[in-house]
Subunit: 445 residues, 2 copies
């Protein structure tokens, strides 16, 4: 029977959807292999879908002779990304595969920082002169259509020095009277971005104005390119990922979790983890300072984790809220006083909730077990008063830390839950043992 | 001198940019007031910029007679958002201000869940029949241009039953030979979304395929509307905000930090904070269990915060990575074993780094202070061995928690840094005191 003999081609060939499914767990070699097995059009679809790092891997794994036709399919901004994602020594070679015009555009793009408006923009866009008639503009654009200039819906009217004078949408242009001048149907651009604009500010601009595309201009108002909203979707996702990872107490990985090399990932995690550990060592120092109190009243040690973690949790909530509000452009440095005015009552209220639960717990437990001793009421008061203080301090410190970091020129997103917790732990211990020495003086201490 | 007399109009009138600046800290009344002071076109620009909740506030604060002209400026999907953001008893009234056709569309949209593809889509889009000639299609579309159908760049070819047969871009249509049939220039839609598709899946679809617009169809392939990428930018930002806030250990606020009512915010924070507190109470129970050891060797108590927080921090890193990878669609439930294979070596390596630092610290300190006693080497070994165990456990628990939550039908983003820390704290205490009882048996214990 022939079915028992394995067909070597069938064995290796994956469907595009199988390949897409398995993509993240495949090695670059396996991916290149998989893509080669697909039909050209299927392979092209997948090639356009994956990110620049994968495209670079794929290009570099194929024979020199095949690279040209693949890299030339990319728009200049995408080609620039692929070249930026390639090892330094391969960049020149990839650049030389492009046609002269694209190579010049890509070289210009490579001069921008990757996360500036300039680094995100596409230098190809539909341009007309304001003194063309609508009819002339349409037939001029039709000739350019091959370059997919028009898929984004706007045409830009420039003078001879490339100053951006006006914008007209395709529907406006195509439905205007054909003998009118472009000047008469265009309108001034509502929003433009400077080429150095940071990608986070750029994404706030897109969100605020519901933009599909924004023209990028230099300081003199000369048009440089366009940034389209599909790139902004990637920016927003990437910025959120960076913030979330920083917020988890590490460096941003800049790569999918399943793809990053384990050694690199450990390095990115070890830095912050060690720094936090060194900071947290202060708790051991603080505890040493209160060693005598602990020896006299071991019952105090029992609540140490409970109290300091509550401060850390309250701080983590507050810093999360402030970091995110700052990233979305809702909150600026000078709003710090409004933040204090919100966190002061919140911290007091939250501290009172936890303080009451803590008080009840010790009070109720006392009827079942003798562990809290004869002075259980005083212990309960110590714990609940400390909780109010620690949660209040945690909320204020957590809310202020991102603002302080920003003021000092650091990324506010570094005010991570673990960072805040570390900061609050030491203070929490001091608050707790100070409250204890006041309330328990003459009884347990 | 007239300048000393304050002009009452000048005093109240703000420029659009001043109003935009101050927007977040103004009350709804002040906003409505500010908007009324602007020229109509300036006010309209600002009205289109703000979110649906603000638009609803503004509409409801103006006289009944003025509302109609404002709400009718909105596209059906935006009008639906405004109505959804209004108090229940006002919705009928606002709906009745719309023209009959829009009212029907909005009513249909209101039936969808807000965060489904159906709830995000615009039911107005450019449609043609496949058997029109290109010339007929263009003049048909020109007549519809008034409704801004065409700003998004794609035309959809439907049969009489509204089945989606093909897509053609405006540039393709306008540059085609005018006597060809639409059927000959259209191509099958590369991607469509089902009307029930969740907005997070939808935003992954947009990112993966670099889409500007996606047609929404029902189970029978009938076209329902389009979702445009500018809405997706909002979705991505909103989903990231929700995840980040959950990750900080609270419910998502669903409102900007500076705008949410303090009482509501406290409620959203108190729930998780109390739950975490109740969980953390287990540390007090665990500590009680080891009370005797602490009494015999108070030095052990000194390192409790250091050790449990290190486990929490390692866990927070791991859960952050896994939660984010799941949200981006990079990681699925069935990949759990790959995750373990990555976290096992990472946890061991990170634990060893912290263990070594901890060992060195106690060893070096011993030469300056006698606090660690004669058995300082054994104490150092206890602390560093515990750190390896706690960090390894933290990494594994942090990485698995989001997967377990997902499996149980909860949101993986609830695996917040504070949640993981609480989970790891109790186990960390048990690991620490168990290691201590083995290493210090016969000496300190």
């Amino acid at each position: 029977v022939t079915t028992s003999v394995e067909d070597p081609v069938d064995k290796e060939r994956h469907s595009p959807s199988e390949l897409r499914e398995a993509w993240l767990v495949l090695s670059p070699m396996e991916r290149a292999e998989g893509l080669r097995m697909l039909e050209r059009t299927e392979a092209e679809d997948l090639f356009f879908e994956v990110d620049a790092a994968d495209q670079a891997d794929f290009l570099l794994l194929m024979p020199q002779a095949d690279r040209r036709s693949w890299i030339r399919m990319l728009e200049p901004d995408d080609a620039a990304d692929v070249i930026q994602a390639s090892p330094y020594e391969q960049r020149e070679g990839l650049l030389n595969l492009l046609d002269v015009k694209t190579r010049m555009e890509v070289t210009a793009l490579l001069a921008y920082a990757e996360d500036d408006a300039g680094g995100l923009m596409n230098p190809r866009y539909a341009r007309v002169r304001p003194d063309m008639t609508v009819d002339e503009a349409i037939s001029y654009l039709r000739k350019q259509a091959r370059e997919r200039l028009m898929s984004i819906g706007e045409v830009y009217a420039l003078d001879a020095e490339q100053h951006l004078l006006g914008v007209v949408s395709f529907p406006e242009l195509f439905t205007a009277q054909t003998d009118k001048k472009v000047r008469d149907v265009m309108h001034p651009p509502t929003v433009t971005a400077l080429e150095q604009m940071d990608q986070e500010a750029l994404s706030n601009l897109f969100a605020q104005h519901d933009l599909l595309v924004v023209p990028v201009v230099d300081a003199k108002g000369c048009m440089k390119g366009i940034v389209t909203v599909d790139d902004i979707v990637h920016v927003v996702r990437q910025e959120a990922t960076e913030d979330i990872q920083k917020f988890g107490g590490m460096e941003a990985l800049d790569m999918p979790y399943l793809r990053i090399n384990i050694g690199t990932m450990i390095k990115k995690r070890a830095g912050w983890l060690s720094a936090l550990f060194l900071g947290e060592m202060l708790t051991a120092t603080a505890m040493t300072y209160f060693e005598e109190e602990i020896a006299r009243a071991v019952v105090l040690a029992l609540f140490v984790p409970l109290i300091i973690s509550s401060g850390g949790n309250a701080g983590s909530q507050a810093s999360t809220l402030v970091v995110r509000a700052m990233a979305l452009g809702e909150l600026r440095l000078r709003d710090w006083f409004i933040v204090i005015r919100r966190e002061l009552p919140s911290g007091l209220a939250l501290g009172s909730v936890l303080g009451s639960i803590g008080f009840l717990r010790i009070f109720v437990w006392h009827f079942f077990t003798p562990i809290y001793g004869e002075h259980y009421m005083l212990v309960a008061m110590t714990v609940s008063a400390s909780l109010v203080g620690v949660v209040l301090f945690g909320s204020l410190a957590g809310a202020m830390l991102p603002l302080v970091l920003k003021r000092l020129g650091f990324d506010p997103a570094s005010a991570s839950a673990p960072f805040v917790a570390t900061l609050v732990d030491v203070t929490g211990l001091i608050i707790y043992f100070t409250v204890a020495s006041v309330i328990l003086y003459g009884t347990l201490l």
